[in-house]
């Protein structure tokens, strides 16, 4: 497991350049450009289970979800940052990517430190020191635990909608 460490204000253009936003949508298309303008060594070396540490305001900028989809699909175990931009944080929930706001853990970490993350219990251990972070509310965890928002929506639709033909679903406002 490797830890990738970055600074403050890592924006969506650094995580996934805007010029590819309308031509790359699948994990295979996204991966080669992941973090392209931030760290060209990332895409070729990232492995399943790796962790990212970052400073303040991680993921600021565009609402594009390729950075989140990409990080989830390459197997990033968690992004631990001092803070996140809100659309990015929401996208993390929607894709089932674990995003943790824990400034003290970020500040404590230095290269080579051993890391353990327990997202369910709200705990991170950095070099033997325990840090806790608030667990998400149940209604939000339900989305992440269903495997992301679309999986959650599919379950909801199956439960609540009778099998009607599409036309009967069109309500006039």
């Amino acid at each position: 497991m490797r830890v990738w460490k970055y600074g403050d204000n890592i924006n969506t253009d650094m995580l996934f350049p805007g010029k590819y936003t309308y031509t790359c949508a699948t994990p295979e298309e996204i991966k080669p450009h992941l973090l392209e303008d931030l760290d060209p060594s990332f895409a070729g070396n990232v492995k399943n289970g790796d962790i990212i540490f970052a400073g303040k305001n991680f993921g600021c900028g565009s609402s594009r979800e390729q950075p989140v989809l990409g990080l989830k699909s390459v197997g990033i175990q968690a992004v631990i940052a001092e803070s996140f931009a809100r659309i990015f944080y929401r996208a993390g929930i929607n894709q089932g990517l674990v995003l943790i706001e824990c400034p003290d853990a970020v500040k404590t970490y230095s290269e080579g430190d051993k890391i353990q993350v327990d997202a369910k219990k709200g705990a991170i251990v950095v070099a033997g020191k325990l840090f806790s972070f608030p667990i998400l509310p149940n209604e939000i965890l339900a989305i992440r635990d269903a495997g992301g928002l679309l999986a959650y929506t599919r379950l909801k639709l199956k439960k609540t909608k009778k099998v009607l033909n599409p036309k009967q679903h069109t309500i006039t406002r």
Partner: protein, 440 residues
Amino acid sequence: MGKTFAEKILSKKSGVKDVASAGKTFAEKLLAKKAGLSHVVPGQIVTVKPDHLLTHDNTSAIIGKIQDELNEYGVVDPNLPVIVLDHVIPAANEKIASNHKKIREFVKKYKIKNFFDAGTGICHQVVLEKGFAVPGSLIVGSDSHTCSYGAVNSFSTGIDRTEAASILLTGETWLKVPETIRITLKGKLKKFVSAKDVILHIIGDISSSGANYCSIEFHGDIGQFSVSDRFTIANMGVEAGAKNTVFQVDDVTVGYLKKIGVKDYNPVWADPDASYLKELTYDISKISPVVACPHNVDNVKPVSELAGTEINQCLIGTCTNGRENDFRIAAEILKGKKVSPDIRLLILPASKTVFENCLKDGTIEILSNAGAIILPSGCGPCLGAHQGVLAPGERCLSTANRNFKGRMGCKESEIYLASPATVAASAIHGKITDPREVRK
């Protein structure tokens, strides 16, 4: 109605009003209304049905995620989506052309009512002009600058593609009630200082994460700002991390809505005794033209400190500053003058309506005579997709909203952000120039 222990203690011992009758912010009132609750508090998660869902060129990726569900359940309501093709128009390549085609087919198949094809305008301007953004409405969109509609008292905020896909099927989503920052603007702006300078100044002050997860309310001397100016300010709320940015409805708003034929709306505004996370006041009569330097929007400096910095391209327009008043101030500065031969000046009207209005009053002719290139109303150069991509080592001075590294298509280039007046003045000299120096 039964009260909790905490509410009873608070109202009895400290004289503090209970939660239900305490003053509320705009966000608290609007989200309570939309969630069908008597009141809500910051941090509470509510389920809401947005009045509209905005999507653009990313509609093809959105519907691609839910093909089976669309076949089975259909779109929840054909009035809900507002779809505008704007991000890469006219299509720059075969892949994008195919995406656009897929969206047009989807619109026909599901009888989507509100579709605007390439050339109508930039999505946010279209949502405003076509009257979808009305006071007291709730709009979400799969674009971060959806926060712009607070200019006309709408609660509007950006979401991702996956969430947009889910809302197409269900018509609802969840929102956390945000804390609110109250910003009071006092005084009158000086000539050649604009709304853009105000919002850049504020972001420079509070930082690009200074309003993370928060709602921003603008109070004070806002009567001097047109709806277009308010749109510029609200558009950039997200650059400080805000969830939404909002203005009160006043005579200026009412006049604008009347002009575009919007009649039915129910404005919402904060109570005078609402409680805020933070309250900030700015004396805007003291603000001078500013520039946001690479590569963060909060790296803001007075234009005087940057005067003489050589530039290669100038961009006036985009959803931030691409309306009639923006081009008129540029034309006032460029009238009878020529753009420096070392500069490409790009003009990007926010919509076809804006373009036509500027054509009628002679603004476009002045800009064209000065040497400007007039682009179709879209997002191309702003996100580095096409039409104005930079080369390594080049600098662009732009009225757009972001100057992130690589934003205009090349990570070895630099983007500086400023007002239309500053960009116009700089285009003449090929160097960053204080607009107050050009027209004395």
